[in-house]
């Protein structure tokens, strides 16, 4: 937990923010997840890795309420929940980004990030229709918050650009901004660096570490780039065919024989 402990505003180590217990999820006859248990400490960067189809994205979908597991429990901030809608999960402070960018194509970067603040903004049609007064004050206040995020992510120049026109790396950054706008306690990142070149990956790593350090945001991230995972994460969970293979600090996981088998194949001798 080097990153978290290094920062003065860092969280108290050892406090469990999220605990998933014996989660099993199946679609018809296909078992996506089988008896998965792990926990996420407050303020840590937790990586989930595994080969394609291992159930990593399904795990994130379970955490933010998009899939409902048949078995098992999720305990978030000390509260055990069984079924929760995604928008309720968002209101408890869970934000996420997507493997395939899921930005709102018809809106500008700024509007996308402002939409990320919807959980803390009022949706009163009467004041909105008049605009002057409460709605305007609220728009300006939240615009200021979003502008700080835009500064942080260094995307000032593209704030008014429709997101469909942006290159891939910037779209990923806007998506991170949209997730950050909700000021989440826990951020689920689904392959934040997929398809990026080295420079863009380094930028993204820097943003992830900075967010973790400055805001103390807990991160759960899925990533295929092992170098990145080993460098920035505090602990790693390895999934394969919906089962948990290993769980621990990067060094331990790296040398785990099961993990090596899963990634490189088993030698038949």
């Amino acid at each position: 937990m080097s990153q978290a402990e290094a920062s003065p505003a860092g969280p108290a180590p050892g406090e469990v923010l999220l605990k998933v217990d014996n989660i099993s999820l199946s679609f018809g006859g296909v078992r996506a997840l089988t008896n998965i248990s792990f926990d996420v400490m407050k303020g840590e960067i937790r990586a989930i890795i595994g080969p394609n189809g291992a159930g990593k994205s399904s795990m994130l979908n379970v955490i933010n309420g998009f899939y409902h597991p048949q078995e098992g429990t999720i305990t978030y901030k000390g509260e055990t929940r069984r079924k929760m809608k995604p928008h309720q999960a968002a209101r408890t402070g869970i934000a996420r980004t997507f493997q395939n960018i899921a930005l709102f194509k018809g809106m500008s970067a700024l509007e996308n990030i402002m939409t990320g603040r919807n959980t803390v903004m009022a949706h009163n049609p009467f004041t909105a229709a008049v605009y002057l007064g409460p709605a305007k004050r609220s728009e300006i206040h939240h615009r200021e918050v979003c502008e700080r995020i835009i500064d942080f992510l260094e995307i000032e120049a593209i704030r008014k650009t429709p997101v469909g026109r942006l290159p891939y790396g910037l779209q990923k950054r806007v998506e991170l901004g949209r997730a950050l706008a909700a000021e989440p306690e826990m951020l689920l990142l689904d392959e934040p660096m997929a398809g990026m070149n080295l420079e863009e990956k380094e930028d993204m790593c820097r943003f992830i570490l900075d967010v973790n350090e400055e805001f103390g945001t807990t991160m759960v991230l899925i990533e295929h780039d092992m170098g990145v995972v080993m460098d920035i994460s505090d602990r790693v969970v390895v999934l394969d065919y919906g089962r948990k293979l290993a769980d621990g600090p990067p060094d331990q996981v790296r040398n785990d024989p099961d993990v090596i088998d899963a990634y490189l194949g088993v030698a038949h001798d």
């Binding site: 930005l103 909105a128 709605a135």
Partner: protein
Amino acid sequence: MIYREAGQFKTSYARDGGLYPIRQDRYGLIVLLLVAVFAVPMMSEYWLVTIFLPFLVMAVAALGLNILTGYAGQLSLGTGGFMACGAYAAYKLATAFPDLNIVLVFLGAGLVSALVGILFGIPSLRIKGFYLAVATLAAQFFILWLLNKVPWFVNYSPSGVISAPPRAIFGDIYVTGATATPEAKYLFALAVAALLALAAKNLTRCAIGRSWMAIRDMDIAAEIIGIKPMATKLGAFAISSFYCGIAGAMWAFIYTSSVEANAFEISRSFQVLFMVIIGGLGSILGSFLGAAFIVLLPILLKNAPEMVGLSIPVDVIAHIEFMIFGALIIFFLIVEPHGLARLWQIGKEKLRLWPFPY
């Protein structure tokens, strides 16, 4: 005048979030409003009653559908039904409470339509796209059937026709009914349309409008970042139907003065849908441009041969009118699938760089 924003600096988020951040646009709108308020009423009764009134009424209906389909992405074919709902609600309110101010009658008609809209918007929670469009047909057919079947809605009039009672604002200026002057009717309709357009613009640039667009662009992602799908979709249905209801009340009270339910049949719904598509989905300006295109063009085509001095038989004109009208719709959709509003925007962008495009 050169259309250029160079040198117009915005130093606060309030200025940047303004309705018309570019000065030329602001002046343009003021001039347009001045013309609409002072110059247009000088025109002949024919222009006011057969051109500007239907244009304003249909523009309000198009605004309503654009909120639902263009901003919130929920396809609807129930517009005519919601307009009928507003027209009959206004009639019942005006006849049941003769002293009620006409503005309150319109608001009440809008609210009744909004409630009906929420009811028929419930299927949108489960289905979307073309399937939703078919489900909203239920609103269209059921409402018209109900209005034709239950004589209570027409106050037991044997003909099934409702006649708008005369109502005045500011004491003695009659704006509805047979005694109202065309000028008063026009100015009242203009005020209603302008206020509703402003409200729509404000709604769509606030949090509520962004949540509509989020649901439209990617509903799953919208829900995952915390937007409540049910409240957002039903809210869009309610506000859209509110607009359509007021448009229906304007149709019955200001435009025609007497109306039967069949004025709001399915072809009216399609008419409004075409306005929204041709004008531009997700654009307030597009609602007006689309209404102008659909309402004005047939009138223009009808009168064009006479204007240039050709004498063509009336039935031939009617056929040619349909052919040109259809061809123009296809032409515009091919040239710019995003509608007239997008064409206008492209034109403005070109103008910004003129005469030094880079």
